[in-house]
């Protein structure tokens, strides 16, 4: 069974980012007390974290580093996280009101990459999928065709997508989807079991499928967790239309003006507003940013540092001896008198039985071939 249990789903959705404020607070609480939950979150953060490769880097404003630097030496008592609201309010208007116009093309490209990966790396899995597919033939149609509402209004951007990418995505999607699509819905009947997750207020009617007013929509406070029944799922899914996923246009995204608006970085505020309670830090405190949980760690580190210093010392000693040996061997006349072998031996109290051999005369140039 591939359906996730309650806490599994909570951990996965916590990392994915689809929880609302209340559920996130619940997840954070679990993170502090439940090691198993921590492990689940780490699993997903590690796995999904790989997706960052696909995010285009954006240079932040230069002043940001100065602000961070200014706050680096604050004592750790200052809460690092942001204030966390516990109430379930609608997302900020700015978030709700606009849809990133960049989504569609980039997602297509990602899908292309995915399809490519799936197609090329996973031929064996493709073989296995059709078998599953026959198990749930009735369920295959519905959900798979929900039109991606954010695709359109991107004409300008779409022009810039290279045709190769598009065709690649089309081809690859074709190659990858036939096996994936049918198998995707076989878990539906189990949805009800895991759907009672959050401590939710009584269920509110799900928004109508034809919910077009996207900008305004998130503003209505929707309770987080309506209890889901199998029939509801079935209804909802059969209500979806059968349109091609990628190219279906819808009137959701805001029009072009936003898309061409230049991105203006905010003014640079070097060393700007320190947080309220930022007491002066003494020099001693500076280099011990970690406090109680890491005391053991710091002790270990101190010991490590001592050993490292010792090792370094030994290394230097060995190097010095090596240099001396090399000097004796290749340039004995340039070694300072007190470091010559005989002199050293005398200093160390070793009596040289035989009279000292005649001082080695400087080698004529030819002698290097004599040896």
């Amino acid at each position: 069974m591939s359906e996730l249990e309650h806490t599994d789903a909570l951990a996965a959705e916590y990392v994915l980012g689809t929880l609302d404020a209340g559920e996130r607070a619940q997840a954070r609480a679990l993170l502090t007390v439940d090691p198993g939950f921590v492990a689940k979150v780490q699993f997903w953060e590690r796995r999904l974290g790989e997706l960052h490769t696909m995010v285009e880097p954006v240079e932040p404003e230069p002043g940001l580093w100065l602000r961070i630097k200014a706050r680096m030496m604050e004592p750790q008592a200052t809460p690092v996280g942001l204030p966390e609201p516990q109430n379930l309010q609608p997302p900020p208007a700015a978030l709700a009101a606009e849809v990133p116009p960049g989504d569609a093309p980039s997602l297509e490209e990602i899908e292309a990459t995915i399809a490519e990966a799936a197609a090329s790396l996973n031929a064996d899995a493709a073989q296995a999928a059709p078998a599953e597919a026959s198990a749930a033939p009735a369920a295959e149609a519905p959900m798979a065709e929900a039109p991606p509402a954010e695709a359109p209004s991107l004409d300008a951007i779409e022009v810039t997508i290279s045709e190769t990418t598009v065709t690649l995505s089309a081809d690859a999607a074709q190659a990858a989807s036939p096996d994936a699509a049918p198998a995707s819905f076989d878990g539906t009947p189990t949805a009800a079991t895991s759907a009672e997750m959050p401590p939710a207020p009584p269920a509110e009617a799900a928004p109508a499928p034809g919910w077009e007013a996207a900008p305004a929509a998130p503003a209505e406070p929707t309770p987080a967790a309506p209890v889901l029944t199998v029939t509801e799922v079935a209804d909802a899914t059969t209500a979806a239309e059968t349109t091609a996923p990628v190219e279906a246009p819808a009137a959701e995204t805001p029009p072009a003006p936003i898309a061409v608006e230049p991105v203006v970085p905010p003014p640079v505020l070097p060393a700007a507003p320190l947080p309220e309670a930022a007491p002066v830090v003494t020099a001693e405190e500076k280099w011990t940013p970690a406090v109680e949980p890491q005391q053991a760690m710091t002790a270990v580190r101190r010991r490590l540092r001592r050993w490292r210093a010792f090792a370094l010392l030994m290394l230097l000693l060995v190097l010095a001896v090596a240099v001396l040996l090399v000097a004796w061997r290749f340039a004995p006349e340039r070694v300072p008198p007190m470091l010559r072998p005989l002199e050293l031996m005398r200093q160390l109290g070793v009596t040289v039985p035989a009279p000292a051999p005649p001082p080695r005369r400087p080698l004529p140039p030819q002698t290097q071939y004599d040896e």
């Binding site: 959705e13 994915l16 980012g17 689809t18 929880l19 609302d20 404020a21 590690r46 974290g49 790989e50 997706l51 960052h52 490769t53 696909m54 995010v55 285009e56 880097p57 954006v58 404003e61 940001l64 580093w65 961070i68 604050e74 690092v80 996280g81 609201p85 309010q89 997302p91 700015a94 849809v99 116009p101 960049g102 997602l107 899908e111 399809a115 990966a117 799936a118 798979a144 065709e145 039109p147 990418t165 096996d179 994936a180 995707s184 819905f185 759907a195 928004p207 919910w211 077009e212 996207a214 929509a217 967790a225 309506p226 889901l228 936003i258 608006e261 991105v263 970085p265 970690a290 580190r301």
Partner: protein, 180 residues
């Protein structure tokens, strides 16, 4: 481009309180993290605020990073994403000057050159690729935009309940695939 090994090394130095290493770490990773955060918040002021918190948290908890457990950049991204999503779920984020600077990030996620595909990423993409195309899109939209369920449901034009069930089912499939 700083390699993961270098970032791991920098993180280890940061864990010891090496401020210089931290500056180098910032220089090597800030654009990536800012890209991630900006994509979620879509406002420079909020994104900068989150970046500040994220890097301070990295500065203080770099010792918690375990190279055996995760890739260094993925760990840093996870720290930043947590804070960014928490901020996105705040009721009404204060704006610096009352004028929200809304960004449209045309530079969103993009296809990765083949040589940059790590084994882990290949595996993940393979697993996501086994989902139906609309579910792939749903999962990726959810991850990159970190939309709440309601927002995501509105974007995908489907009921919230169905979305939740689909998400969970998809995540379950991906997990099973990753663990197999």
């Amino acid at each position: 481009m700083t390699t993961p090994v270098e970032i791991t090394w920098l993180l280890a130095a940061v864990a010891k309180g090496d401020a210089l290493a931290f500056e180098r770490l910032y220089g090597a990773t800030c654009a990536k993290l800012y890209g991630v955060v900006l994509r979620i918040l879509r406002r420079h002021d909020l994104a900068a605020e989150v970046m500040e918190s994220a890097y301070l948290q990295i500065w203080r908890s770099a010792g918690e990073f375990d190279p055996a457990n995760s890739a260094p950049l993925a760990w840093m991204v996870a720290v930043a994403r947590r804070l960014a999503i928490d901020t996105a779920r705040r009721p009404s984020p204060p704006t610096a000057d009352g004028e929200p600077e809304v960004i449209d990030d045309n530079e969103g996620p993009s296809a990765v050159p083949r040589h940059q595909l790590t084994d882990d990423l290949k595996r993940l993409l393979t697993c996501i690729g086994r989902l139906a195309p609309d579910r792939q899109r749903m999962l990726l939209l959810a991850y990159f935009g970190a939309f709440g369920r309601e927002q995501l449901a509105a974007k995908l034009d489907m009921p919230v309940d169905a979305l939740r069930a689909a998400l969970r089912h998809s995540l379950g499939e991906v997990e099973q695939c990753l663990k197999s």
